[in-house]
Structures are given as structure tokens and as C-alpha cells.
């Protein structure tokens, strides 16, 4: 083999580099996350299974309906009508972003940017603290 002194170390570096996440997480088996579910309300706008698998699609659909189509109401699986709003509908039952959304998202390392703009329930207190000068 030509240039084996360069090719073989190259391949080794490549393999190590691409398997870094595996090595870093080795041995640290984490518990499956348990997002905190609302206590008072048992039914979401769609079935539990649908929400688990497709909540992101529903949210995208909602945001397009509310902003681009001017439709503010959504008829859920139970036939009830809901106001389309992340802050005023979803987060009224799921009262905490950290205890609900983040638990799974952190585990699977996805970082949706919803809360860059939207104000999460627990953020309100933090923002009010800021206004009082305690940054």
C-alpha cells in the first residue's frame, strides 16, 4: 500500500473523531425522561399517541393556521374547540416548559427555538426580575 504511514493514522483519526459522542457517553446510562403531565386535565387536543409522535407537526400546523391563514380555532379529537395559541392554550395545562418540553428534548438533544420568542410560563418571573434590575 502506498503512503500507508499517512493513510492508516488518517483512518484511525477519522474513526475516533466520528465516534466521540459514543465514547463520551459510555457507561453513563441515563434514565428515560418522564415529562410532568398535567394533573387536572387528562385529554389533550389530540390523542396521547398522536401528540407523542406528532406534536411538532401539530405545532407547525397551528402556527401556520394562526399567522398565515388567520384561523384561531382548532377542533380537537374530542370534538372540543380550542384557541390556537402556544402560550394561552398549550401552556395553560402544561404549566412548565422545563418540566414538560425540556425533559425529553434535552434527552434526545433537540433544541427547538420556540422559546426564543414565546414566553414560557416560568420565564415570566425571570423577565420581571430583570426589569427590576437584577440581571
Amino acid at each position: 500500500m502506498y503512503n500507508s504511514d499517512k493513510v492508516i493514522p488518517g483512518i484511525i483519526i477519522f474513526i475516533i473523531f466520528f465516534t466521540i459522542p459514543m465514547w463520551l457517553n459510555l457507561g453513563g446510562a441515563k434514565a428515560i425522561p418522564r415529562p410532568e403531565l398535567p394533573k387536572e386535565e387528562k385529554n389533550c387536543v389530540e390523542s396521547k399517541e398522536y401528540m407523542r409522535a406528532y406534536h411538532m407537526k401539530l405545532l407547525l400546523k397551528w402556527r401556520n393556521m394562526a399567522i398565515r391563514e388567520g384561523k384561531r380555532t382548532f377542533v380537537g379529537a374530542d370534538g372540543k374547540t380550542y384557541l390556537i395559541s402556544l402560550q394561552n392554550t398549550c401552556m395553560k395545562c402544561h404549566k412548565s416548559n422545563e418540566k414538560f418540553c425540556d425533559r425529553c428534548h434535552k434527552f434526545v438533544a433537540t433544541h427547538p427555538d420556540c422559546w426564543h420568542c414565546h414566553i414560557a410560563p416560568e420565564e415570566v418571573a425571570k423577565l420581571r426580575r430583570w426589569q427590576n434590575g437584577n440581571r
Binding site: 398565515r68 388567520g70 402560550q87 420568542c117 414566553i119 420565564e123 415570566v124 423577565l127 426589569q131 440581571r135
Partner: protein, 258 residues
């Protein structure tokens, strides 16, 4: 017609004192309500909705302006940025010279000059910002409202370059850090997107009036300008009104009763 702009506005200025004054203007300063309406709105489309606003500058005091701006900015979580050149504003007050720069040289009356003018997005019938946006982040709803979709905005600022009224603001900073009050029912924005007045379409969709109209206590009219019977159409027709930069053909939907 041998009446020039300067002369016209002088007469117009007089007419404010006496409360009358009927002019027939052929070219430049459109002032008579029915003519403004004819040029900006035209025939109108029956059965369709086009939201418009008429601000009664005669009755609007400085306190009113403050209250209105506060109501809007508080409800929409508009950040309060100290640097004026990098501030975010949905509605703001300005002088006659700044609101109507092309009329400023025409020597408007003292009284007209001393009034406060509320400036906001004009929700043009023919919006330039919508034309230039490369991703349709800003678009016109069927009811004429020019909306900004912050989910889609790429922050290229082309709309701000295009807007002839300076009605758009860019988030030069993290807006949440500059919130004076938090309205937990409404989102804020993120850094790097453009925002502006949205005629409170979220309230219109629920059958409510915009915040500014509510806070103005009758000094701002709001309604469907395609409806000849509507209050807004009537007050525009019966008064002297100005629109900002009508010569550009953008057909602004915010009218100033003078």
C-alpha cells in the same frame, strides 16, 4: 388650476381656524376626504374587508399619544431600547415635518405643526415590503393587513430598505432583555427578525378592536373602508384628511384627519 401647494396649505391652515373650507385640488396635496378616499381606496370591493384607521389629530393630545403607545407596546411585548436609532417601535409620535416631509416646506400653519402625529405601519394596499420579501415572511392577508411572520423571517432587512415610511424595526438586541413589562399572553420576538405594527390582527380575528383604538377612546376610528356605511368611511369623507406620501402609489390605509 392656478393654485400652488404653498397657497393651498395656507388656505387649508386658515380653514382649520374657521372649521370650514372646501377646496377642489387637482394635482398634489390631496386633502378633501372624499377625494383622498377616491384615490386611495377607489371603488372598493363589495363584500370584501379592508381594515383602515383614521387618526383624529385635532383631538389627540400628548397624553393620549403616550397612553396609546404604552397600551400597544405593553400588550405586544415591544422592548424598550434606550438607543433611539436602534429602538423597536410599533407606533410612535412624531412631528408634522417628519410625518409628512414633502409637505413640511409648504409652510403649514403653526397649529398644524404643534400637533402630535401617531405614526405606525400604514398597511398599504400596495405594500412594497411584501413585494421585496424573499421568503414571504411579510405578506398581505385577504383583509389587507400586512403581517410579519417571525417564524419565517430571515432577517435580511430588505423590507426595511423598501418601506418608504420607516415603519419597520429590526431587533438589533435580544428583545427580551429590554422588556419593561411582560404580557405573558403574547410572545416576544427574537434577535435578528423584523417586526412592526400588525393592526392587532390577533384581536380582530377574535372580534375585538386594536389596542390603540381602544386606548384612544374615540379619537382613532377603525373599520372596513370598503363599507360605504361604516363610520370610518363617513368620517374620512366628511373631513380634511392626509395620508403619508400618497405620491408613491402604496395606498396607505392610515388616514390623518387634520
Amino acid at each position: 388650476m392656478a393654485i400652488d401647494r404653498r397657497k393651498f396649505l395656507k388656505i387649508a391652515g386658515l380653514s382649520f381656524l374657521f372649521g370650514t373650507g372646501v377646496f377642489s385640488l387637482e394635482e398634489f396635496v390631496l386633502c378633501r376626504g372624499d377625494e383622498v378616499l377616491a384615490q386611495v381606496v377607489g371603488e372598493g370591493k363589495k363584500g370584501k374587508v379592508r381594515w383602515a384607521m383614521a387618526i383624529d389629530t385635532r383631538r389627540l393630545t400628548e397624553e393620549d399619544c403616550k397612553r396609546i403607545i404604552e397600551a400597544c407596546h405593553r400588550a405586544h411585548n415591544v422592548p424598550d431600547i434606550p438607543e433611539p436609532t436602534k429602538a423597536v417601535r410599533w407606533i410612535w409620535e412624531d412631528t408634522f415635518e417628519h410625518a409628512f416631509p414633502e409637505l413640511a416646506e409648504e409652510d403649514p400653519s403653526e397649529e398644524l405643526r404643534n400637533r402630535k402625529y401617531l405614526l405606525l405601519c400604514n398597511h398599504c394596499e400596495n405594500p412594497v415590503c411584501v413585494r421585496v420579501c424573499p421568503v414571504q415572511a411579510t405578506f398581505q392577508r385577504p383583509d389587507g393587513i400586512v403581517v410579519q411572520d417571525y417564524h419565517r423571517c430571515i432577517g435580511c432587512k430588505f423590507c426595511m430598505t423598501a418601506c418608504p415610511y420607516g415603519s419597520r424595526s429590526y431587533n438589533f438586541f435580544h428583545p427580551k432583555e429590554y422588556l419593561k413589562h411582560v404580557n405573558p399572553e403574547y410572545p416576544a420576538r427574537t434577535m435578528g427578525v423584523v417586526e412592526k405594527c400588525i393592526f392587532c390582527y390577533e384581536r380582530l380575528d377574535q372580534g375585538k378592536l386594536p389596542y390603540c383604538v381602544e386606548a384612544a377612546k374615540g379619537k382613532i376610528y377603525f373599520g372596513n373602508i370598503y363599507d360605504p356605511e361604516a363610520e370610518i368611511t363617513r368620517v374620512i369623507k366628511e373631513n380634511l384628511v392626509l395620508v403619508r406620501k400618497p405620491q408613491l402609489g402604496t395606498k396607505p390605509m392610515v388616514f390623518y384627519i387634520v
